[in-house]
């Protein structure tokens, strides 16, 4: 990769990560939190691909593939949990899940 500086790639990655993080923290709807998590994982993928492309190594893409699997599993389990939550509480408000209160 010649023309795109790594610095800019990482800026893009950080931006996406920050947006996802804000989503995770700020949203009350658990579904949106899961989506924001996907955005965050994706941002990390950008950073890996960018780095792999700068050093001309395949490792970055390998990492991306692993992140992809992780994201898939996370989505599956998270959505299954969401289904149970919807059944039990009739709501997706994550603040309902606060029984661990100290």
């Amino acid at each position: 990769m010649t023309s795109i500086p790594l610095f800019h790639v990482l800026i893009l990655s950080s931006l996406l990560f920050a947006i996802g993080f804000v989503g995770v923290v700020a949203r009350k709807n658990t579904l949106f939190i899961l989506m924001s998590l996907e955005v965050m994982l994706n941002a990390i993928g950008v950073a890996f691909i960018g780095a792999g492309s700068v050093w001309q190594q395949a490792d970055g893409q390998v990492m991306f593939i692993l992140i992809l699997t992780l994201a898939a599993v996370e989505a599956a389990v998270g959505l299954a949990l969401l289904i149970r939550m919807q059944k039990k509480y009739r709501s997706l408000d994550i603040d309902l899940l606060s029984q661990m209160k100290g």
């Binding site: 993080f21 995770v24 923290v25 994550i94 899940l97 606060s98 100290g102």
Partner: protein
Amino acid sequence: MNVLLASLPFYPLVSFLLLIVFGKKLSWQLAATISVSSMAIAALVSAMLLVDLSVSQHQVMTVNLWHWFDLTNEAGNAEVNVRFYLDGLSAVMISVVTGVGFLIHLFAAIYMKSDANFSRFMAYMNLFIVAMLILVLADNLVLLYLGWEGVGLCSFLLIGFWYHEKANVLAARKAFIVTRIGDTSMAIGLLLLFTTFGELNIEAVTTLAQQANELTGLENTALADDIYWIALLLLGGAVGKSAQLPLQTWLPDAMAGPTPVSALIHAATMVTAGVYLIARMHGIFLLSPEVMNYVAWLGALTLILAGIAALAQTDIKRVLAYSTMSQIGYMMLALGAGAWSAGVFHLMTHAFFKALLFLTAGAVIYALHHQQNLFKMGGLLKKLPFESGLFIIGLICLMALPGTSGFFSKEAIIAQLWSSETAGPMLWWGAILGALLTSIYSCRLFFLGFLGNARFNENIHPEKSHLLRAALVVLALLSLFGGLINIDLSLVFNAPVTSANEVEPSWLHTVAIITPFIGIIFSWFYFKNYRITHSVSAKYLLQANESKFIVFCRQGLGFDSLYNLLFIKPYQWLAQINKNDIFDQIIMVNVWYVNLWHDALIVVQNGALRWYLAAFGLAIMLLIGVSFL
């Protein structure tokens, strides 16, 4: 290594361990066999030791078991060993402890047969014997103190043996606390002794003190002051353990324990530990004539006051308890007068006849379904002839009628009082008054309990066990003829203190001998109501004994109320106003501080996942931020 001497305390110890470990799993037969046979072996071993000691050329036998620890200060370096020391004095004591102890164990095994906690009882009794043997055999004062506290513990455990009843527990607590006052005084005395002489071995201390005396003379030196305080503090310990004025209040209440306990601990052995201590430390006491004078006066006062209190009691065991105090007063008087051998001799004979009296009283109480009130007895001479005969033997020894063991020992004491430097004619008259009181209360006790008409309704069922009766008969024989045992303690107490600086009047012995008879004749007429059979009811007799003065005497001459007013009330008041302990409050500042943080941090632990995540993000932000710095 003298195996016999070294092993003596271990027989009862093994028995104690067996009984306490297996407890209720043991049948009565097994538990009784273990405990009584261990005592029999111990008694046999002490008899053999006695023979060994009298045959051997040496005056003492010692055996070193192991090195315990070292004590060091600028005055010296004291090696504290677990080391047994047997001389004439401790030989007398071990014979009394194991011999009388064995007979009382035998009695107790039958007397306590139906108790659910029989093995616990016998275990405590055995433990008591262990501690007592350590006390009397100790070669140094630290080991002696171990035994001293051990017997105190056993006394506490056994007074409160029937702990389901509140009165027993209170009595146990009282005994423990009151004797603890004396023990504290003794501990301070031991520390002072160590800082003064740098030595805790009894022999060595005695030698050092006498050397100092011979080298410099003790007039008005700092050492004389030290010795004065040491002797006074040790006397404090002896006073607590032996129930002398002013720490005597625990002994009458201690009668709440089972009767064999009263006989063994609170009459025959433990309460004489104070006498033993003073006799053992006579080397120190001899250097402080003032303290010996105090000892004599304390003994005489206790002798008379306890005699008066005994005259007013209604409970047969409490009469005997006050009588015990009074007799120990005799021993103290003897020690104070420098009549060491006589005091120890009286200790031994008293152990015989007081154990006999207590055990017989126990048998009577048992036959009368645990009735202890004298005014509800009466006329037992015909119904319980065997017990009555034994009781009469005990009482004539107590009154010191000529020929009995009590006569020999008491006369030996009284004979030395008049001309003693530290006693004198006043105390001699005190002793005579005490003897008079003794014979009066003994007669009152006998008339109330055994003569007159029967004032009880229940059927009597005496325990007819042969073993029990055998134990009583042996004790009766010892009481009668124990005076013939000639104990020679001149080797132990080699410094006679009496000096015939006053001419003894010739009538002294005559007065001393006839005093008990005067008491008997006086009582014969004065207590006529109690003696003769007529229609007087128990209620009438009780009412006649309810005047204020008599009640005052019955309650131990007001010492309990006095102490209540002087010490317990102010202490309770202090406790009341300092209920929220001020030191607690200081500690509570920490609690408050922790609670503050708890309250602050509980806000963070709100269970909201998004807050956790935000905090996580914040923390990572801060960490990365720090790396920029």
